[in-house]
Symmetry: C2
Amino acid sequence: MNFLEERIVRDGVVKEGNVLKVDSFLNHQMDIQLLDQMGAEFRRRFDGKPINKILTIEASGIGIACIAAQHFHVPVVFAKKSQSINLDGEMYVAEVESFTHKCINHVIVGKKFLAPEDHVLIIDDFLANGCALQGLIQIVQSAGAVVEGIGIAIEKGFQPGGRIIRNLGFQLESLAIVDGMDASTGHIDFRPQSGEDQRKSDKTAEHVFKPEECVCRSSTLD
Amino acid sequence: MNFLEERIVRDGVVKEGNVLKVDSFLNHQMDIQLLDQMGAEFRRRFDGKPINKILTIEASGIGIACIAAQHFHVPVVFAKKSQSINLDGEMYVAEVESFTHKCINHVIVGKKFLAPEDHVLIIDDFLANGCALQGLIQIVQSAGAVVEGIGIAIEKGFQPGGRIIRNLGFQLESLAIVDGMDASTGHIDFRPQSGEDQRKSDKTAEHVFKPEECVCRSSTLD
């Protein structure tokens, strides 16, 4: 187990309904030393990439992104989430529909903060269905910029977001991938991280992807 | 001028209606080196205080708080904002009514993240009427913890939040206090920062406090 997996085992709480609570160290209270370790690990995994900007999304991605940015010496831009917006032409807006949560969210970034010459690392705390992440990718591509990689703290490997993003060819690095949880025992099953490839090798058939779980209304990802 | 005031003059944009846009370096895109300078300055101004936790509020306070936390070697807790909540007994909730924005907001912190032994530094990016800040103070006091100080990046000195908080006896340190702005010229009038006291000495009569600008429904601050 790596440092984040160890911390999840120690301080994470498994709840019914495949809920993993990590609010004591990651997304409500934040252990800044842990975030710094994560930043160093992202730096290692994206070594050699010409990253000049980190993009994240409010709220819980911001702390991780800011601390990581110190390892890359780049600024951070955080996208805003809103269910209703006034389009004023100065914003990139991705409309992201979540069938799971039965709502449409808008992911918004000011146009002046993303340009074709940008090489972007996207960072977020959780990846499950990947709706927010698809919105972020869509926005980077709308700006003509390059997604150099995606760094995630915790991926729920039994939900389809990670597979979709990897299938699209992005370098997605999740520091911990949870393939299963048992609320009655508290046991957490992590996917072994063998070097480069985090694809789920021997368990591919377990999850049948339902494309309606998250639909991003954009031709970019079709 | 200090480093933050210089940056505001260089990259801030004054808009009609007393709006100061600092989204290119503080609250949409974030210059992490600037945040680090701010963190060091907060450390200097709160030197000797037994701070063991930083409390902020989503979303734009989080980056500043996390980088500052590296100078204090303490964890960060960020409060959540919500217009509607389900009270489940495990949360501190401050109901904050803004007459300016004609809405009620809830400021929410998990009870397990604030305890009577905590000595809290509150950090946020902006202080105007101070509604959110009053909610944070209320929550710290509800937990029986101590507010050791409040660190703000930019205070709008012509709005009442800062005066109210200082009148209540808190050590409020704003790295830049804007006493006036002119959208036609772009001129920004900063309050001189003479050592300890950031009270507005010779301009007290300029702003007549309207108590209805922000009401915090709590006996704590009455």
